[in-house]
Amino acid sequence: MNTLSLKRVSASTSPAPGVRQEPTLAKYIDTTSCIGCKACEVACQEWNDLPPEATVQLGTYQTLPQLTPNYWNLIRFHEYEQDGALNWLMRKDQCMHCGDPGCLKACPAPGAIVQYGNGIVDFNQDNCIGCGYCMTGCPFNIPKFNQKTKKVYKCTLCSDRVSVGLEPACIKSCPTGCLQFGTKAQLTEVGNRRVKQLQSQGYPNAAIYDPPGVGGTGVITVLAHGDQPELYGLPRDPTIPLAVMLWKIPLKWLGSLAIVGGIIGTGLHYLRFGAKHVPLEKEEP
């Protein structure tokens, strides 16, 4: 990706250099037509050349309990009983590529997290210091810390593929078409059409998940039970954690003022009152 595409850069003292006008891209995930085949998981591992992960028996079809530094794309299997009928909910979990990324806001290392003009949020491990603040800033529990490299990893939305006009590996591998890639505007329309269809098919609460609290996401998720995103392991109304906002705005300003004030204050005190000398008569007992 090019410097001209940088919309936001973490811990930067100057505005991001991006000037390109690009459409916001998104990934479309229709949980209602996902069959849980996990081709996307395999494609992600293969394209990114990630090593295999040892797993544990979870008693479900889910590959791993959660995302790991070497596993950026995970189909989550949820069982939900409604009126005696079992609903098997499968949702592809990965970085949501937030419009207002909490990871980027929390990051103290210049250039370690960037957001491109097309909306992709990407980690630059060569600038990462491994503090893990992004893990605290993310409301979706996505970035994962690698103990060996001391860096944090997550889905790149295949920024390498996208930059040369290819769709992300997971999209390419999907056999049902429940995954699509395109501009966010276009996919929102596709999602709205699908929601209407679901509503007429007995899912009155079907909805798109694109939470405004994080500036919308670069992932458009269609949920049959859109009124209960928790069923899919999604937070109802995600925002950047209040603690991160307090820390990065008022506390930082107050603190900087106090530090500068303290230095100026002591300087003024010295100019006005000066030093305490021991008078000569005190020296003689």
Binding site: Y133, I259, K282
Partner: protein, 212 residues
């Protein structure tokens, strides 16, 4: 604390033993390292400090260890100075006259012991803030070990860590300013350990009286 003779020939007084000076300076260096690397993580404008101190990942690696060393030294000082740091009635009287101390009208101040109230409060602020910093720092040190369901702890740790750090920075600025620029002889005393009897009489009369 130490049994070393405090009254020295030539009207000199031993204010800090070698042991006390050493502990003070280890904690000072540890504090300065956590302070500078912490400031680098605190503000992008100060990130260059991390570059000077070995680079971002290096600073990230040593910052918590340096913090642990600082707290260990604080604990040592607590053992060493706990009795000296108790706030006494003499301190309260001195505190009432604080504006005069600030204006350098020292003749009119009540006599006090080995440390003045300002030094004592500085010690306790550093001690308790240090404890909060180490506890919250443990959470920030290993965020990946804090389960997602316990993430509230991470949020709390961030706020506690920054707030306590800012308190120590304010106290540190005043401490360094008083010890070097204002109270002449104070800086020498923490390096070479000695002060004159006149200095002891002016700043810590009750301490000198008790030594004699």
């Amino acid at each position: 604390m130490s049994s070393a003779p405090r009254l020295l020939p030539g009207n000199r007084v031993l204010r800090y033993t070698l042991h006390e000076r050493l502990i003070h300076w280890i904690s000072a260096l540890a504090f300065i390292y956590v302070l500078l690397t912490g400031l680098a993580f605190y503000s992008p404008s100060l990130y260059w400090l991390a570059a000077v101190l070995g680079g971002g990942p290096t600073a990230r690696f040593w910052h918590p260890w340096s913090g642990v060393l600082f707290m260990a030294m604080c604990a040592w000082m607590y053992r060493m100075w706990r009795a000296d740091m108790r706030i006494t009635s003499a301190d309260r009287a001195w505190q009432q006259a604080l504006p005069r101390y600030v204006r350098n009208e020292d003749e009119a101040l009540p006599a006090i012991g080995r440390f003045n109230a300002g030094q004592k409060y500085f010690f306790w602020l550093m001690f308790w803030s240090g404890l909060l910093l180490v506890l919250s720092g443990l959470v920030l040190w290993f965020p990946e070990r804090i389960a997602w369901s316990w993430r509230g702890l991470r949020y709390l740790a961030i706020l506690v860590h920054v707030s306590a750090a800012l308190l120590t920075i304010g106290a540190f600025i005043i401490h360094v300013y008083m010890g070097t620029a204002v109270v002449r002889g104070g800086f020498t005393s923490i390096i070479r350990g000695e002060v004159s009897q006149g200095w002891a009489r002016m700043h810590h009369a009750l301490w000198l009286r008790d030594l004699k």
